[in-house]
Amino acid sequence: MSYIDNILFAILLGLGFGYFALNVKKLIRNIKLGQDVNRSDNPKERWANMAMIALGQSKMVKRPVAGILHIIVYVGFVIINIELLEIIIDGLFGTHRVFAFMGGFYDVLIGSFEILAFLVLVAVLAFLTRRNIIKLKRFIHNDLKGWPKSDANYILYFEIVLMLLFLFLNGSDLALQMKDAPHYTKAGAFPISQFIAPLFESMSVGTLIIFERAFWWLHIAGILVFMNYLYYSKHLHILLAFPNTYFADLNPKGKFDNLESVTKEVKLMMDPNADPFAAPAPDADAAPTKFGASDVQDLNWVQLLNAYTCTECGRCTSACPANITGKKLSPRKIMMDTRDRMEEVGKNMDANKGVFVPDNKTLLNDYITPEELWACTSCNACVEECPVNISPLSIIMDMRRYLVMEQSAAPMSLNAMMTNVENNGAPWQYSQQDRLNWKNEN
């Protein structure tokens, strides 16, 4: 017996997982470009969030049609992947359906995989219809012009091909089992592929084995290719939804962080005993603090994780009051831009021995314009909508901070408002002394 198959399989597996590991390393490096932020508090609540929101899909079903279709594909993929273990063992050791010893339980497993595969096919066709025929607004939005639109369709095509290969693999296997072919021990229940098996009935065992092997190899190769496609696509969410929901902000949505660097300066300013001419503190050799964010390195790592997690579903944008009323702001685009810029910075580092060489570009202006940032009402609709707890709002706020505190580039009317707050303690030009006048007015 030749071991070429097994060796080839081992090589294929090594290549598939090896390349994937390389990209995961890159992914982690890029996320670590972000500033530190502590999200290690309340592990209990964090695990619960992950269980409810990522594992339990609780926010997906807020839109029931998409939610239920998504759960079918999600459950299908997770459960059918159990079969992957058997496929890998069979591939490495040349066995046939190595788990068949489980008997009746094995039949239940294979049978349910098949039914799920069929349901996934149906759901994916529905998804394609929603994107390309019904053309839901959020899927034909400007954000998705070009690659993102193709990416979304490629993922769906891929899933169709993988599910069909799985079912045809089972169908040809069943046909071989029925022909009492050696090596193909009778095992499994085939509620769906029993309708495929008759296609192979007229074939000789030899030909049939070629077909069965072809489906088998294409299926596992397809899975490995798909896994490696993740890094280049919006589909990373299938992995990152879990850490993303775990590390998401637990505070009430209205609570925006107070910049500590600012607190220090404000305290110093308000301290009557502070010596304005004192020598800077010894730790002043650290780089001067930059207020707010103009590029991905100024954002925190959770915001960057958010960007990789975003699967561009556009629920945020469809709920954004600015976007609904025709403004340029689209929270989804904020996330896509952040990821695109992060990838650009990452490629720059790859090309320069791991060191980022300034490229005269920034996330601000080259990707996200001030016009988009100033259209935000900070209403949190985008944060509420996101099925995996991404916060586009926190990025918008950090970039506004940069515009205002580093560049003094707020819209004129906002500068007037801020001058009023500073001088009169109110956003309008009224004297603080008059704050109680209403009491005596009629």
Binding site: K255, T263, A375, S378, C379, A381, P411, L414, G425, A426
Partner: protein, 263 residues
Amino acid sequence: MSEVLSVPTMAEMLAEGKQPEVLFWVGCAGSFDDRAKKITKAFVKILNRAGVSFAVLGAEESCTGDPAKRAGNEFLFQMQAMMNIEVLNAYEAKKIVTACPHCFNTLKNEYPELGGNYEVVHHTQFLKSLLDEGRLTIEGGQFKGKRITFHDPCYLGRANKIYEAPRDLIEKLDVELVEMKRSKANGLCCGAGGAQMFKDAEPGNKEVNVERTEDALETAPDIIAAGCPFCNTMLTDGVKNKEKEAQVKVMDIAELIANAKDL
């Protein structure tokens, strides 16, 4: 309506050696905006009627810094916050009530880290607690049977998950509470948040307040209830834009209750 309002200040209270049950944070809109001042007065009338011991800061109150923070000016926000915290702590304030969800959110969520720890409630929560404690009774009065829809302020609803207190109060008025298609966690912003109140909107094809007013008008209401002075302004403008001001009124929940009681 000619009743004299009793509005003691914290300074006056302190001079008498008294500490009020609650500090009423009026806010900039409540102090200066003509429309919002009516809400302030309505709320004070209810407090007076319920015999609540409260006080305001008066000329010692200053902007919480919310619009500065949302505009990106963290410096100005923290300066405002620290000045206000100094004043509030000097008076040993424990509980604060405010009719502005923006003040509410900032005081409640963003002041603690800067040294300001208070129990902060929105006026709808406070009125609800008065009701629950039997210190306030509400009857339908002139609103009986009217259709009222409630617009969730973002900084009360999504930001702090307070959806029920305002609705509970409205329902006490023997009215028909009707929900907009986008409500509670899915409520649409009025367009004023994030310092938008103080600037022109970016180019687009519609104003946010008009979009939201259309949501409200779809419910064919007699009254659009609000719980935020800024939402109130935006929706009032929206109703005018739709030329419905003769049929539909925009009112704060405090006003609904005060009017129902003929205060």
